[in-house]
Symmetry: C2
Subunit: 316 residues, 2 copies
């Protein structure tokens, strides 16, 4: 069996593994075909993970497949899109069956969990590089964008921050303890907030997925919306295990580490109040949008802040 037959063998099952009612034609022709329902927009995003840059050398392929699709799908969550399918551009140094079966299995789990079928792809030889493009749909004109935040909106995050960043220190630990393991789960198996994103369509005024850290990503919303923000340091949600591990430094990680793939959303207070309780329960209010440009952090000990903050706790 040739190496590309081998690859096809591993990935072909993913083409039929999930919801495919919109996928008119999957892998195997020059192109794939997707039929978008009337009144829906196609929403799409591509993310690349490079070995040694986005994940360590020899990172287990049994985590990588899930992680790669989750990272990409998280962008759909931020737009409020319903996931449909994805393409995989996989560049590999060799067709190692162990590696491939682990990767395909892990990707397959994510594909089923997120309801996304493999629509097509390209497999090439080279340094390990994974580009995944995700496709979703959203009601015409209803996608949540970064530019809609308005002064007075509350700033919310959808889960605890910083743990995945803290996990980086343990990725090559052969026997991580229980605290480390709690961090590692958040790194290996991020859960894109796909359902919550869809529930926030027409409610949230802006959203972004936190891939580079809350401060950096919130900054993108502020720029796109021409507004500022005040964050309340004491309200940033963190896992107790993170605080046990890092004490005073936990907040740094929660503000600047990016690998959790939670969402940061802005929403008017009266809209938040009217959300169903189970949706409200998934949103931690961490600050407020203000008219004056800039990002202030209230209540943090400045000596703990990462470089890039001025003496007013303001990101410069």
């Amino acid at each position: 069996m040739g190496e590309f037959d081998l690859i096809r063998q591993y990935f072909q099952p993913l083409a039929g593994s999930a919801m495919t009612d919109q996928l008119v034609l999957g892998p195997g022709d020059d192109c794939a075909i997707q039929r978008i329902p009337a009144g829906r927009d196609l929403v799409f995003s591509v993310d690349t993970l490079v070995e040694g840059v986005h994940f360590p050398l020899n990172y287990s392929s049994r985590y990588l497949g899930w992680r790669a699709l989750a990272v990409a799908a998280s962008d759909l969550a931020a737009m409020g899109a319903k996931p449909v399918c994805f393409t995989l551009a996989l560049t590999l140094p060799e067709a190692n069956p162990d590696w491939l079966s682990g990767f395909a299995e892990s990707l397959s789990k994510a594909s089923s969990a997120f309801g996304m079928a493999l629509a097509g792809g390209d497999t090439t030889r080279g340094a390990l590089t994974i580009s995944i493009q995700v496709h979703g749909t959203v009601a015409e004109g209803a996608a949540i964008q970064r530019s809609g935040a308005r002064p007075g909106d509350l700033i919310c995050v959808t889960g605890p921050l910083g743990a995945a960043g803290a996990a980086l220190a343990f990725l090559e630990d052969p026997k991580p303890g229980p605290l480390a393991r709690a961090m590692l789960v958040r790194y290996h198996s991020p859960e894109p907030r796909l359902e919550l994103g869809q529930q926030l369509v027409g409610k949230a005024s802006a959203a972004i997925d936190i891939s580079d850290g809350l401060l950096a990503d919130l900054q993108h919303i502020l720029e796109a919306s021409s507004v500022g923000a005040e964050l309340q340091a004491g309200t940033i949600p963190m896992m107790p295990e993170l605080v046990q591990l890092h004490g005073d430094q936990s907040l740094n990680l929660a503000l600047t580490a990016g690998d959790d793939y939670e969402l940061c959303v802005t929403i008017a207070p009266e809209v938040l109040k009217r959300l169903a309780p189970d949706i409200q329960a998934q949103l931690a209010v961490v600050g407020q949008v203000v008219k004056t440009p800039g990002l202030s952090l209230i209540g943090a000990d400045l000596t703990d802040m990462p470089p890039g903050f001025d003496h007013f706790g303001r990101l410069v």
Copy 2:
């Protein structure tokens, strides 16, 4: 200016450089948004080019941008799709302004020539790898697939074959002669048959773009359609410069070299006859689809054939 600002500077102009009426939201948010017109299907394909595998080390970025988009867009041509937009996942060892400006300029020319706007992308650090996903649309259910070839259909190609393959020998030639230059143009600047592909919707029974050589790619049509083919060696179109350079070996290149990005299409004789003369003029008949599986080559000197042929000139 940071390296990613630099990259944005070079690529942002491509977002508005071409037809964008379907592109509701381009680069800069978590996702891009495309609105597919009613009654059209989304057609998409991803292609990866890796330095040292798909193009030589130090290959000029002034050709690479065009070539990368052309190679990807050629898959849209094979489905008969109208091109709309593309995403670029670009992995680069460094942000070299010379390289980037050459690449962006060359990509921009292709983007305008093919009518495709940059919809989004991801830029990462690593070994030079370019993944481009192209999006087009076609009337619902009308995409030309590989599986529609029927016995009696004529097999056509859309232009001369083999020249881009012959160019490989000259890619690092500092002073190529006129014959070599004629080959090099075909390698550097492939012209995906986008218009012709659209004109063949509802006419061609099957199509594929020739990326791996006529024999290999026709084989994909035969398998998908459960048919066989007889090719007439004497009818394979070749540039006179190729024949001057390679004499008896030209046919080998024309049959097995893949870099020209012409289309191979099958079409019923009575349908071909009724096509407008200017469309017929772009189709060279090179053989016929037959019922018996297998691919026969008629009229070639077998000693000239590449390995993989049996003594009957039949691909084994």
